[in-house]
């Protein structure tokens, strides 16, 4: 990082020292040690990233620093947290009185959480909530607090700060709410800011904006930051120092460049090997499977093989979508007349070929999930045609439409929510076989279920277990087995790997690619994650506000992006490489809403072909200028 020199020397007294901290949940025989003997220092003005996957204890560590574990059922059973707000005298937060802690929380140490909707109180205006912190800790009167609140909102680059003060949280977008959270956290000029996955729930372009703001403000105010995250890209972009946590223990610590360049602990190596890196397939026309290092009982083990995914067969498309339009009515007058519509999908056309993966990329509100749901007949289209194997879906009989649900399968984002908690996974996997009457014999069904479980890398005896007995990655494997059960031709994967830890994600992506080769499957891969898209897809369609703005081969779209939105999206992705120069262009702007009053139809983009098979929407000049 180029700005390292400007920051205080790391040899001075640390602002915060965590010494052999251990945290336990539960009591007696059922006690579970979430954090084991963790130590690290935070230097004033520097950013420490605490990285780890789910269950690594990173969030618990951050809560324990502020002693917030007291309120979540945890107990600090050992160690100390030394805080030196003025650089000399150290205060042990583990032993500090509640009154002292209240003084420190929000004042000297502030915190931002992952979910900006739930961390703001829905019944108070933004202004009131910021002012509350100010009147509490700084003793300002109402009017001064309001003026200061406005300044803070301007600091986090929220436009129209004056008006925002009187708005309620639900009237703001996720990105705006997270900026309000940052403004609140910075209200009292804290010495230390703890950010717990602050951008995980946000779209990439919004994430880039938030990261930018945090970085700028940190330089301006000299705040030290503890950044909790699972995203190695964010780490590379934000951190000066890194602590890697695994199963409640600190496994490695060091400056960010060293961690990335020469990871010492096998877990860190495994983690880094699993991170998809944007640009890693530059120059290669086809997606490629690469081996992943997984931790097998503490030992790193290489799984999988390098394999070029030359599965696509471009003679005849399996699915043809023509001018598909899906709109939802919202907002009705008293007499039931529709006033507004969500223009989720507007005249979208694309083909998918056998054995091919088409990625549908876009941010929230782009309509990508609606396309998937329309194809799966979960949502009725407003217009357009869908042909499967040359047959028009609209002209199909009820029975044929049912059979289409067998040939097209859907994998949802959240493997925790998409399995019925009351049934065994064996039942869930057998269900498509039963409802489509594929196999009648009970024993044969059981055999088939076991076979499917083995195909997705699980054990046959897992069939008798319930979903809650599995980890997230295993559950997603169950969902994949369920999707395969009816022997489909096309699988729609809707953000299917987005909620998983990177090491699991890499394995699931490999599994999907392997299954594609073995069973000649086509995928419609819906996601917002450009790095995963690069790894898995043959062709890419970029969506913005319900329309495709760019479509072409993965190589063409990634290496020669033509549309300004595609470029914006690509530049917003945090790259897991601290050596890389940060993009200088600053991304601005919210994602516009697809809700429009009745009668105001959006303009349909005209497409032009830049090279064979690579189509781009023609942009009005002002759009081009803004980007």
């Amino acid at each position: 990082m180029s700005d390292n020199k400007a920051k205080p020397d790391s040899a001075s007294a640390p602002l915060l020292s965590v010494r052999s901290l251990s945290v336990e949940f539960g009591t007696g025989g059922g006690a579970f040690r979430a954090v084991k003997d963790v130590s690290f220092d935070v230097q004033p003005g520097r950013t420490l990233a605490v990285v780890g996957e789910s269950g690594s204890g990173k969030s618990v560590t951050s809560l324990a620093i502020m002693r917030l574990t007291d309120y979540t059922g945890g107990r600090i059973v050992g160690g100390e947290v030394l805080f030196r707000p003025d650089g000399t005298e150290a205060l042990n937060l583990v032993e500090a009185s509640d009154a002292k802690l209240r003084e420190i929380r929000g004042n000297d140490i502030a915190m931002i959480f992952q979910e900006p909707m739930t961390s703001l109180n829905p019944v108070f205006t933004i202004g009131n909530q910021i002012a509350e912190t100010l009147t509490l800790h700084e003793g300002l009167n109402t009017r001064d607090a309001r003026t200061r609140a406005k300044e803070l909102l301007q600091k986090v680059r929220l436009p129209d700060a004056e008006k925002l003060l009187d708005r309620y949280p639900h009237q703001l977008s996720g990105g705006m709410r997270q900026r309000v959270m940052i403004a609140m956290a910075l209200a009292c000029n804290p010495k230390l800011l703890i950010a717990d996955e602050p951008t995980t729930a946000l779209d990439v372009t919004i994430q880039a904006q938030i990261l930018n703001i945090v970085r700028d403000l940190q330089q301006e105010m000299g705040t030290a930051v503890i950044f909790i995250t699972h995203d190695m890209g964010v780490v590379a972009e934000m951190a000066d120092d890194v602590v890697v946590m695994w199963k409640g223990e600190k496994v490695e610590q060091g400056p960010v460049r060293e961690i990335f360049a020469a990871p010492k602990h096998p877990y860190t190596r495994a983690l880094l090997s699993a991170v998809p890196r944007l640009g890693s397939l530059t120059g290669q026309p086809l997606p490629k499977r690469t081996p992943v290092i997984v931790m097998d009982g503490g030992e790193p083990k290489q799984v999988g093989e390098t394999h070029i995914q030359n599965t696509a067969d471009y003679t005849k498309p399996i699915l043809q979508v023509g001018k598909l339009t899906t709109r939802f009515d919202v907002g009705k007058t008293f007499f039931g007349r529709v006033t507004h519509r969500v223009h989720a999908v507007e005249e979208v056309s694309f083909d998918i070929y056998p054995g091919e993966t088409l990625a549908l990329v876009g941010e929230s509100g782009s309509g990508k999930s609606t396309i998937g749901r329309t194809l799966q007949q979960l949502v009725e289209p407003t217009g357009g045609t869908v042909r499967f194997n040359g047959r028009d879906m609209a002209a199909m009989s009820q029975a044929d439409r049912r059979r289409l649900r067998q040939e097209i399968q859907y994998i949802f984002q959240d493997p925790f929510a998409s399995l019925d908690p009351r049934h065994t996974v064996g039942y869930s996997i057998a269900e498509p076989i039963i409802v489509h009457g594929l196999i009648r014999d009970r024993k044969a069904i059981d055999r088939r279920v076991q076979e499917l479980l083995e195909q997705v890398g699980l054990q046959p005896q897992h069939a008798k277990r319930y979903p809650h007995e599995f980890s997230g990655g295993q559950r997603q494997r169950v969902c994949i087995a369920r999707a395969l059960a009816s022997d489909p031709k096309l699988i729609i994967a809707d953000e299917s790997v987005s909620a998983l830890d990177v090491s699991i994600q890499a394995q699931i992506v490999n599994l999907l690619m392997e299954l594609q080769e073995r069973r000649h499957l086509s995928y419609l891969f819906i996601t917002h994650d450009m790095a995963v898209v690069e790894k898995i897809s043959h062709r890419v369609a970029v969506m913005y506000l319900g329309q495709i703005v760019e479509i072409g081969t993965r190589q063409a779209v990634f290496e020669n992006p033509q549309h300004s939105y595609t470029r914006k999206l690509l530049s917003a992705v945090p790259i897991a490489d601290p050596e890389r120069e940060r993009a200088q262009t600053r991304i601005e702007g919210e994602i516009p809403s697809p809700v429009r009053p009745v009668g105001q139809e959006p303009a349909i983009h005209q497409m032009r072909e830049v090279e064979p098979g690579h189509w781009v929407a023609i942009e009005p000049e002002r759009l081009r200028g803004a980007a």
Binding site: R402, R405, Q409, P421, E431
Partner: protein, 285 residues
Amino acid sequence: MAGAQAVSPNRRRFRSLEFALGITLTGGMCLAVLFSGFLFPDGGESMDLMARLIPPFQDPAHILGTDPLGRDVLARVIVGGKISLTVGILSVLGAVVLGTLVGLVAGYYRGIAEVLLMRFADIQLALPFILIAIMFLAILGTGVDKVIFFMIVAQWVQYARLVRGSVLALRDREFILSARAIGVGNGRIIFTHILPNVLGPIVILMTLNVANNILLESSLTFLGLGVDPLIPSWGGMLADGRTYLQSAWWVSVFPGLAIMFTVLGLNLLGDWLRDLLDPTGQTGK
């Protein structure tokens, strides 16, 4: 997630303790009531004015004492269970079946069916209960069957509202959507995916309502709208004994205990059943 991994052995033992206690109390009570005709051929109706108000545990012929008319309290408690348990259990079962069906249909299909059913339910909830009872039973006449029928009519609304609320929360959950994506039909979704997920709260409301209805039967009988006041029932005995509470506590305390133990047993069984239905073992915590 981590906490849900396995039910602790401690909890499992408690669960079976719940079941053992519940089945002993409820089962014992039901058995006694079933064989009451055999145990007390007189139906607890033979009076002996010479042996009025004998305190319990003094006369071996009347272990639980006698009431102001010299009738054996033990006999009446056991015979009285027949009416009380029949009314309590059948009325609740009927209301559950009706209410759950209506709630499932209204919550799952939404639309006009929901509007009509739920407005009807609201109207019914707004009318004073006792007023409907008087009107209803005055027209139909009295009797055990009519009382049960009336209770079903009066109470299905509670279940319908409860179920509809749960279904509304469930129907947009991803596993329902994913079942639909697989091609599962509406009927199968309702009965294999939604119903098992709404049973927990229904079971709890059921066990509470059994107790309620046993007492309700006595109120109706007291008003002359229930069953024949001469036939012993727990609620009726409670009401009768009230005037003697100062001098002869046993007349009303023993039927009260009978109600308490039955309800306790049913509650324990209900908790056990709810845990049994929930493989994650989390709802009880």
